[in-house]
Symmetry: C2
Subunit: 241 residues, 2 copies
DNA sequence: CGATCAATTGACGCTTTTCAAGAGGCGTGG
DNA sequence: CCACGCCTCTTGAAAAGCGTCAATTGATCG
């Protein structure tokens, strides 16, 4: 039996019944692929569908008046794409693939019906989105009150923790398709400064960001340096049995 | 008929039936008051209740390892307090009153039951929290990619727009109990710099922050200066009729 | 083989922080 | 009623962090 990312994600929050699993399964309509550079969700446009990321990385961002870009979050397999846009009629940000990606499409109408029919699942979805918000909050704190080096370190650790949850990373490191430009736009830094900071961290033997791989050279020392607390990602098991 | 903040908030998102209104009404248990400096939600502690702010202001924040504080959001009447903490077992931030506040308490168990019994309301709550997340996202962008002056201007405008939604502000200005220290911790700046920037904005005749009041001296010029787009707060009416 | 993009490094300058000091308001206790 | 402490706001001077500009390299791609 194939374990779909969405099932794994929601199942970790709420113990799902057979009926709910069937409803969930019916949600996965078409499987689609998107190539790098082609927007899935476009800033300021209403959407009729949301997606669940199956493979590859994407980035949620917003373009400012002056052309600068702020990255809100990187999306990895198992994440919802454009869920807020679906529910608030107007998406306030864009999403585009970082790599070629594979997604399954979920139609708004189907999703709403599913939530109404299976309230426990609605809670699970609610919980999942709350976790996403916790991520954004952590991101906010990272940018607001940490200096560049700690900020970069913290970010790489957070990404590692998220990837580990879906089996794509460990305390040794992970494959990471991001460029230093993307990192800069996520962290509110210039790419030049990101480069310098990465070299610092590498020279200190804590973490190496190179050739599409993040390698934790000294995980313990890095977490201490970054003040990293993975608690907000912890799951204590399903809230609803 | 008294219009409770929660009813007004959810009613704007989903047209509620009589049954749902009754369920909602039953949620409002005790009314409580908290004085300045007494935490409602404490970082790292699991909670059994969430609150809905009736009057006064509160602040959601997180304390970092080194003692610095990052403010996540200011809470104004009609806002949920500690909703995420309720759903994820572990609250990742603290909430404390800025002024003396009045809240109504909602028990987790009641809330979960209500959501399960009235799925449309669950969607409304889901939507409301999505809007809150949009606020945090805007906050993130503000801190990540705008310089201090624009950041302060944007923030004061955003606060004004939120207050206007609940009848506590206009394009002329609003009563604002925040200190410059609170502003600094929200914006990721030092209080000294916030002070300087506020003087700049005042000298330029755009906005005055003084004696507990924010006065928009030139609303049009300020919005242009800040690149403020209130769209993300807009409501196009109930999604579900 | 030219073009584009990611990474890299140096020099310089500006934004913001830090440190320091002082003024005014307000509550509390003697 | 006054003195004192505490908080908030204010301003100046100096230092630090980070951004901008610029130039170089290597890799990939058509």
């Amino acid at each position: 039996m194939e374990t779909k990312p969405l099932v794994r994600k929601l199942g970790a929050l709420v113990a799902l019944t057979d009926v709910e699993l069937r409803v969930l399964d019916a949600l996965h309509k078409r499987r689609r692929t998107f190539a790098t550079g082609r927007d899935l969700v476009h800033q300021g446009r209403a959407d009729q569908a949301t997606y669940i990321l199956v493979s590859g990385w994407a980035v949620a961002y917003k373009i400012l008046e002056d052309g600068q870009r702020q990255i809100i979050d990187f999306l990895i397999p198992g994440d919802f794409i454009g869920l807020r846009g679906m529910v608030s009629h107007l998406s306030d940000h864009s999403v585009e693939p970082v790599t070629d990606i594979e997604v399954t499409e979920v139609l708004v109408a189907d999703f709403m019906t599913a939530l109404a029919d299976t309230p426990r699942m609605a809670i699970a979805v609610f919980w999942a989105t709350s976790r996403d918000e916790a991520m954004v909050v952590e991101h906010l704190i990272n940018i607001g009150r940490r200096d560049a080096a700690v900020r970069v370190a913290h970010f790489l650790l957070e990404l590692g923790a998220r990837l580990a949850l879906v089996g794509l990373g460990s305390k040794a490191g992970y494959a990471c398709p991001l460029t230093q430009y993307l990192l800069a736009d996520a962290l509110g830094l210039s790419s030049v400064h990101v480069n310098r900071v990465l070299r610092q961290l590498r020279d200190k033997g804590m973490v190496t960001f190179r050739d599409g791989f993040v390698t934790f050279d000294d995980y313990g020392r890095l977490t201490e340096f970054a003040g990293f607390d993975p608690e907000y990602l912890d799951q204590i098991g399903p809230l609803l049995k």
